[in-house]
Amino acid sequence: MSEPQTAPLILALPSKGRLKEQCEEWLASVGLELTPTGGGRGYTAALKGVPDVSVQLLSAGSIAAAIDAGEVHLGVTGEDLLRERGEGVEARVALLQGLGFGRADVVVAAPKAWVDVETMADVDEVAHDFLARTGARLRVATKYFSLTRAWFAAHGVVDYRIVGSAGATEGAPAAGAAELIVDITTTGATLEANGLKILRDGVILRSQANLAASLAIPWSASQRAAAERLINEQAATILQTRLANG
């Protein structure tokens, strides 16, 4: 067991898919290379020639949860997943650096057939009427409970319900499971194909892969130094400020 002063920096990186590849490209761009460590499961890794960093390979969702909970120092995951951790997440997580890949938008989408619904103000009115007339609330299918609640509240829309959706959210309106969706999209093509359109003021978040630091875990001087080798100057300043204020 290492002394706290010399314990490694724990870095969480995506374990699979395009995000994993793009992450390795980013690491290469700062002169680093991921090497698998012993343990055939593939959950841990190391950075070649960098002994004071220990890498954990996790799903993007688990990385966001681990940073929030203070189980790792740093992690790369989608900004959408970090912000979905809830109101006040910025007190526990410092978003240090957008990495320029994994770009996608979290959007509010409504049926194209609803030609009178183009903005959140339209949603407000239609939802209010719907509830008054039918006694039922407009349903919004999404996995982003937190982002959706905050966005709708900010636009004064209260007469709706969230219907949890683990996958294929864009199919929910056609299946009659919801009227609106909040989903992540890259080209918008899937939304189109499902008879949906993005509201004019419906972009909740322009997300990308982000390198984020946990403010819920203790940081030693050596761990800070290890972090600074991975991040750019601006990010280093942010980290310094946030750790100082914490």
């Binding site: 809830g86 109101e87 006040g88 409504a110 049926p111 194209k112 057939a113 609803w114 030609v115 009178d116 183009e118 903005t119 103000a121 339209d122 407000d124 009115e125 239609v126 209010h128 009427d129 006694g135 039922a136 609330r137 409970f145 959706t148 609640r149 709708f152 509240a153 004064g156 209260v158 007469d159 709706y160 319900r161 969230i162 309106p173 056609a174 009659g176 009227e179 499902n194 008879g195 949906l196 004019r200």
Partner: protein, 378 residues
């Protein structure tokens, strides 16, 4: 998870006594409540405060966050035209982020709900006085009762002939200055952004022609017919929107009137005088509503609530829209805002929403014994 420690028996007995004298039937509704119904009533903001539970059969439920909804359901199910119930038991709410250290998630609520009874100021005062006597028995010396009545602003909006949607938005925003300001701005300039393309065309056509055109667009596959709204509904809304410019807009002085009313708060007599002055200046007559508020204050004093412990605010509103009309909070300096020792009011709309009789009356009060008890150390 923090659970309230229990109170000494003697303290509970004293706090409970006024409820025992209220002629109410003890009721013990289920702790596990259906989730969907509660969220349908209270909206998504409630979800973050609920302990959600799930059995193996998959139906999502929650631990009761309070008693009002379950008791109201039970009363409606009984079919009785009227009823008075008292309850005492645990309720459960997830602490708000940042509040964890000071907020109990498992706590005792004690309360009374009365249905189908006379609705007048003495009846209102009698219910609030039960809560007052109960809290006073807990021993705190710095208690105050804050009164409100959402009828006042609602009556003003009615006299101003504010259209229903802006009016609903304004009522919802009461108690939140920034939201109220935004709602008033919207009421002053209702016209939204200009419509384009097909939407713009439909707005200007005769209704049946527009409906036909939209349905053709859907059928042709131009726009897939996804979503449970009819073409008629959509066309009607577009045409209504085109008339929005002609709809009665709220004037600046009317908006100022609402803002001025919503910030009046203080000793009841002074607050009433201020409200009367504001309305007189604006030449708005809302009839007897302010007299009702005055009568209620007198009735409360007659019931033993000290006049110098009463305050009245016209911007006082609960987040759950089913409270309408008379409402009150009892607070102590020992706790911050948002942590009332007791609360209550009228909630006729909830009765209706849960399937109760149209025009039915519902009023109640709830006490937090642990907060009322002066012997509690935080």
């Amino acid at each position: 998870m923090r659970a309230e420690p229990p109170l000494p028996t003697a303290a509970m007995k004293a706090i409970r006594a006024p409820f025992l004298e209220a002629g109410a039937m003890l009721i013990d509704p289920p702790v596990i409540q259906p989730l969907n119904e509660l969220l349908d009533l209270a909206g998504e903001t409630m979800r973050a405060r609920l302990f959600i539970v799930q059995g193996e059969n998959g139906a999502e439920a929650c631990l009761r966050p309070d008693f009002t909804v379950p008791v109201t359901r039970a009363h409606i199910a009984s079919g009785a035209p009227s009823g008075r119930y008292r309850y005492e038991g645990k309720a459960f709410r997830v602490a708000r982020k940042g509040d964890e250290a000071s907020h109990f998630e498992e706590f005792i609520q004690m309360g009374l709900e009365a249905y189908g009874e006379r609705k007048d100021p003495p009846a209102d005062a009698a219910i609030a006085a039960i809560a007052w006597r109960s809290v006073v028995a807990g021993g705190r010396r710095d208690l105050a009762m804050h009164l409100g009545d959402t009828r006042i602003v609602a009556d003003v909006l009615r006299v101003l002939e504010t259209p229903p949607r802006p009016a609903a938005r304004i009522m919802r925003a009461l108690g939140r200055p920034a939201a109220l300001s935004a709602a008033l701005d919207k009421a002053k300039s209702p016209a939204g952004e200009a419509r384009e393309g097909l939407a713009a065309e439909l707005a200007l056509m005769a209704e049946s022609a527009a409906v036909r055109k939209l349905e053709e667009a859907w059928a042709s596959g131009e726009l897939e017919a996804v979503g449970g709204r009819s073409a008629l509904e959509i066309v009607a809304r577009l045409r209504l929107g085109a008339q929005a410019a002609k709809e009665r807009r709220m004037t600046d002085s009317e908006a100022t009137l609402i803002t001025d009313l919503s910030v009046i708060s203080g000793a009841p007599d002074a607050a009433l005088d201020q409200a009367r002055a504001v309305l007189t200046r604006a030449r708005i007559d809302i009839g007897a509503s302010l007299d009702t508020v005055a009568e209620r204050t007198r009735a409360l004093v007659a019931e033993g609530v000290p006049a110098d412990r009463l305050s009245l605010g016209f911007g006082f509103r609960r987040p759950f829209s089913y409270y309408a009309g008379f409402l009150f909070d009892i607070t102590s300096g020992a706790f911050g805002p948002g942590h009332a020792v007791a609360a209550g009011g009228r909630y006729d709309p909830l009765l209706r929403q849960l399937g109760g009789p149209v025009g039915g009356h519902a009023v109640g009060c709830m006490v937090r014994p642990f907060r009322a008890w002066s012997g509690a150390s935080q």
